[in-house]
Assembly symmetry: C2
Homo-oligomer: 169 residues x 2
Amino acid sequence: MHPLPAPSLDELNPLERQVVDVFVDGVRVLGLPRSIGEIYGLLFISRAPLSLDDLVHRLQISKGSASQGLRLLKTLGAVSEIHANGGTERRAYYEPAVELKRLVGGFIREQIRPHLESGKTKIKRLAEAAREEADPEHRKFLSGRVSRLDQWMRSGGKVLPLLQKILGE
Amino acid sequence: MHPLPAPSLDELNPLERQVVDVFVDGVRVLGLPRSIGEIYGLLFISRAPLSLDDLVHRLQISKGSASQGLRLLKTLGAVSEIHANGGTERRAYYEPAVELKRLVGGFIREQIRPHLESGKTKIKRLAEAAREEADPEHRKFLSGRVSRLDQWMRSGGKVLPLLQKILGE
DNA sequence: CTGATTGTTCAATTCAATTTGAACAATCAA
DNA sequence: TTGATTGTTCAAATTGAATTGAACAATCAG
């Protein structure tokens, strides 16, 4: 009479499902893995903090995924770990950071800045390579392009703190 | 005496290779495929416009990849197609757009705005779902979270034109 | 100590996005 | 028309990133 397994009590309700989907979509735009969106999304719409096991059961993801996902979210400053009982309890629970400023700041710091930095280094090397071009006309062209690249990087560096500032209001 | 094939004349020289790598890296941050970075990068550092076949040979990518890559770059406004002889020549050549403003504008228009739009729609549906929660306390919590999401979207919408403006200087 | 609980690590697998390549259009010259 | 050239499309193959899951710490209670 019951050919299908009973629905798990852990399943997400429709609202939770929708919210999680919004975040799954959102993080894809940012180039982050789906599990990150799932985890943050569920935390975001849950009234009480959730444990790693809660996430594993409700999202039906592996412990490994949950653990790694939480680690990334922590380094992004997007979730914080709390221990009940004034920090004496062993089990950790997680809450989302919900201030846009904080989220954007963490993302910029962890995902954008490192690329800007390594970009600067590479462009220095490019500038040297361009100077070695024999033909003066072509050398001029190459230097022009390299310095444009450099200009882009500077613009990026300038705009990031501004972004954080604007989004912090 | 020559156990390895002679190096293809089409290969990128070291400077070109470096530039292409910078762009490959750059577009990955933006969530775009490697081929996009390769194509744009080579155009960026080439003095003369290149044809599709030039790209295929020098980057050693398939015609399909080159064709699709160029299409995306055109919709982003990052390359323009030119036909010699006042537009009478059949073969198309491509040049990169090198103004940061234009590049950022195209990216925002094609890759960011659509997500913001669809996000808004989803959030409207979320707001309805939240109103259906029976428990008043929990309903309050849910509405709070949904309206925070809405706030984020608005901030995003506000910040994009500002970004374009700042980078256009 | 032993067993239970909580969380991490990482090699192997899975999955999704990109790339390929062959077939197909479209345009032109002879 | 035929053949050559240029470019597009899309199913299939490839590749690389995310996920899994089992083994391994680490911490605690009894």
